[in-house]
Assembly symmetry: C2
Homo-oligomer: 315 residues x 2
């Protein structure tokens, strides 16, 4: 790809961040705003930050990483958008920005944009088939196949957190169905597993971590703290969670035969990469992908959106 | 794609079949041979059938659909090849055919080749993102993304039968691990489910089908026969199997957001398409793909291999 400059904007429920992206890097000041609580005010914020960045930089396109699925031609947000205000998905960012600034504009789902940044600038460099899994409050995914972001027919692909892991309807998922990978492998799932295991433990197996806690009140942080002092119960919970993560990776390996998985998000810091790599290799059929931590942690959404806009619209 | 003629050959454990493919159709006599029981003899069969087809037809490339995974550049069979003889994966078909006939040659996994034929000539026509699932003795897959066969990093992608469906290690899978989709959604899995359910049934729920059968000896055919006379136990088993099939499709929908699924293989004839379509739409997040039966049933491997060779090597 030749040199390019584009604006990348990441719109989340709490913060809006924006910068100029050139040669896969942020080259301007980073603008960070608190996300407004009305759709009209968010549009105003986006137009203002764009105005400010175009005043002092020569750019030729603009990419927005946003919560929610984005339609096939990258022009509109569809469906649910987490904790953004009512009316958000009706904002016509593309038309408003193109009209006002003559900047060709692309929208992309934030997990997809961040995955693309990881592929271009992080541990995915030089590989063709990369699956980025975000282990956070939920479980998200971004999939690059033969160097291209896989978006699906309606733009809603790569919802990897919603692989179903049981026929038995054991645990409700936020998506309305049961037993999705996210319900187990996320930080939320981690805490649910801890409390379920605590409820089923016999008196003689109660470790000091449990003596101080009511069942139902154990948090992910409690278990992580327990790991630091080798609490046996904490170790059991953690191993169970790593097994939950592992089985999803086995399924995705057999489906995609990727070069590597890259794990991002807060929970990815608690993965034992050597262990999961070994176990994955033992459980998959042919493909033996690498399992790596994310590198392009901060501002990956901005960078990915910027690169994708530049790729679509050229310099 | 312009006009082309190529030879397509499908090598299975029982039969080898071959024909000339032009404009996505078979345009010559179909040659069918019993697969020999040694690798050397199979190579001889392939060279002879190629010689016979090239003598009477003008062709410019050759494609082989084969059991087993095929490497990234479509030149060699890798790993397990089901019931083909020892030494089969060492045969250098590509080199032997190119040397003798000057015909550029491509190898492709048989499920991938058949899926590509379904995409080009069957119910996948006009769509971009198509997932073909073969429900037979096992569960196979072929995946087309943005009009391209997804092969994976080592050529071993689309092993959709090996999505893991349980954390609980309930049922061993042929791949060596536990609880793959194949272990439940295949014809083999169907019979295992029937016998498990029969073992757990109370006396008062024993239908006429069960009175005549020892637990452990119930076959898929017994249940299919039972459905014809509305045997309640048979209906329960069948509904359980359809639920097993459904949950795999939900996972694949959330991952790929495809235009459609196409179900092929012997067990696909027993799917209630209206029912599974309705249930799938209710359980997925955004994407609502169609669920369709396969159309290009016979000789799909030959046709797919022929088209893929012509696409790779031109007219």
């Amino acid at each position: 790809m030749p040199d390019f400059s584009s604006i990348g904007i990441d719109i989340g429920g709490t913060k809006i961040s924006a910068a100029v992206v050139k040669n896969n890097e942020i080259v301007s000041d980073l603008k960070v705003l608190n996300t407004s609580n009305s759709a009209d005010a968010i549009l105003k914020q986006i137009l203002e930050v764009t105005s400010s960045l175009t005043n002092s930089n020569d750019v030729s396109s603009l990419g927005i990483a946003t919560a929610g699925a984005v339609n096939k031609d990258n022009s509109k947000v569809m469906g649910s958008t987490g904790n953004l205000p009512d009316g958000y998905s009706d904002i016509d960012f593309k038309n408003e920005i193109e009209k006002k600034f003559k900047l060709p504009t692309l929208l992309e789902n934030d997990a997809n944009a961040a995955a693309y940044a990881e592929y271009k600038t992080g541990n995915g460099i030089g590989k063709s088939n990369v699956i980025v899994i975000t282990l956070g409050t939920g479980v998200g995914g971004g999939i690059i196949i033969d160097g291209k972001l896989m978006r699906g027919t309606s733009g809603a692909g790569a919802e990897c957190g919603h692989i179903i892991m049981s026929f038995d309807r054991k645990r409700k998922c936020t998506c309305g169905t049961w037993d999705c990978w996210e319900a187990y492998a996320s930080g939320t799932g981690y805490a649910i597993t801890a409390n379920e295991m605590a409820a089923n433990i016999t008196e003689d197996k109660r470790t000091s971590l449990l003596l101080n806690k009511k069942t139902g009140s154990i948090t992910t942080y409690d278990i992580i703290d327990g790991l630091k002092v080798n609490d046996k119960f904490a170790i059991q919970v953690h191993n169970t969670w790593e097994f939950h993560v592992l089985l999803g990776l086995v399924s995705l390996t057999n489906i995609f035969d990727p070069d590597c998985f890259i794990l991002s998000g807060g929970m990815a810091d608690f993965i034992n990469y050597d262990k999961i790599q070994k176990e994955l290799s033992e459980m998959t059929i042919i493909s033996k992908p690498q399992v790596l931590p994310a590198k392009a942690k901060n501002n990956a959404g901005i960078i990915g959106a910027g690169i994708l806009a530049a790729l679509k619209y050229g310099k």
